[in-house]
Symmetry: C2
Subunit: 251 residues, 2 copies
């Protein structure tokens, strides 16, 4: 509330609609959307119609359900390409995936979250569910905690004042002081660990990527708990630190 003048109210509402659609399964009705974004049906319908005309979404005329549309595909591909962090680090991350035989993610921070830019899947048959474009909390993910560890004290204060720490699993650390301890460790060691704090049974090792001392992203290796022991964890950590070094050297 307050802030300068508003501009683009319809555009902002359209964005809310897309975000709502992202948060639920495919195929949404007008009613759902209208309730989901707290906007009356008449208004919502008009936006949906315009969005359809622009092929940003489409609707199945029989079921009257809405889906994401083709135009967004090109934009999404282009957005990925426009983060050249992907292009540069991809070969190294692929190597990391092959060395560890586990899933590797690349992400950037945005609005107190990490967004997946890339996912390199483990070749093994038991695999992890995650999606490019998906979002994670900073405080309970390996990439996120690595990013936190690179923040200044005042940035950290700001972050913790804006965010509500909510347990995703029984292992999630929701105490700010314990998180500060972890952040201290991460700074010393150069890597972060998510020990089932985000998803039950999944352990991740992460690190940030810097250029001219400025952080611009993070990556991590994720593995199901049953597939890891302290020996393998040690190796993964070594590979992560090597990968971080190689990528940063390239820049």
């Amino acid at each position: 509330m307050a802030e300068g003048k508003t501009y683009g109210t319809v555009l902002i509402k359209a964005k809310h609609i897309l975000d709502y659609m992202m948060s639920v399964d495919s195929g949404v009705t007008l009613k759902d959307i209208s309730e989901g974004v707290h906007s009356p049906k008449s208004t919502t319908l008009k936006i949906l119609t315009t969005l359809s005309d622009q092929n940003m979404i489409w609707r199945n005329e029989e079921s009257k359900k809405y889906y994401f549309g083709t135009e967004l595909i090109g934009y999404g591909q282009r957005a990925m390409a426009d983060f050249d962090i992907s292009r540069i680090s991809l070969p190294y991350l692929t190597k990391l995936r092959d060395e560890t035989a586990e899933t590797v993610h690349l992400g950037v921070e945005q609005n107190n979250k990490v967004i997946y830019l890339q996912k390199l899947e483990s070749p093994q048959s038991v695999n992890l569910k995650s999606r490019i474009g998906g979002k994670l909390n900073l405080y309970c993910s390996a990439m996120g905690k690595a990013l936190l560890a690179d923040k200044t004290p005042s940035e950290l204060d700001e972050y913790f004042s804006e965010v509500t720490l909510k347990a995703s699993t029984q292992y999630t650390v929701t105490s700010i002081s314990r998180l500060y301890e972890q952040i201290e460790d991460i700074r010393e060691r150069g890597y972060s660990i998510d020990d089932k704090e985000n998803q039950e049974e999944v352990i991740c090792v992460g690190a940030t990527l810097r250029k001219h001392n400025k952080v611009f992203g993070a990556f991590s290796v994720s593995t199901p708990e049953y597939r890891i022991d302290s020996d393998k964890l040690g190796k993964i950590i070594d590979y992560v630190l090597e990968t971080k070094e190689s990528i940063e050297k390239e820049l």
Copy 2:
């Protein structure tokens, strides 16, 4: 012009901006965009600012150039998933790629164009440039001509009245009567051929995918000319027809 009431002018303008950005290389200035979309700087800036606030785009504060933003990544991924044509046909198209060792594309029609939904790359070192989300003309591509061949006479009339046939290469067919002949052939044979009509040196074989006699997409195999002879072409055609049959059976 005319049509019902306008709604969402800002949304539509924002779309124009994104489309303009798609049509040029990454990193665009306000001036370029403003000229590109024929809208004054003041108006354009306001939209760009809102779009940035929403993380649909971002700008490099030093160079003041605009790029596609992270939010679009998730939408794009979701849009691909929402065309379940991809999910169903992917295994068959992968098989086709492996059988032919050439690049396979999957696309849908939209606004008199074909949009690439999937690209399965040839394992060979000489490869083709194309991008998921990219667009092709119907009249000079294998997928496009296959789609044309599935249209009714009045749909074809409409298409040709709306589109301007422009040669992309020296081989592009720009005569409507010759295209009608080709369409007749495609209907008889069940597959279409693009013989360097879209890109010099690239030959493609395509076919549509139907469900309950309704077309919902098309796919194609593309190969550089030097890698093909009439024997291999025959094989590719067979594989394409087989793949079409398998996928349509699945539905």
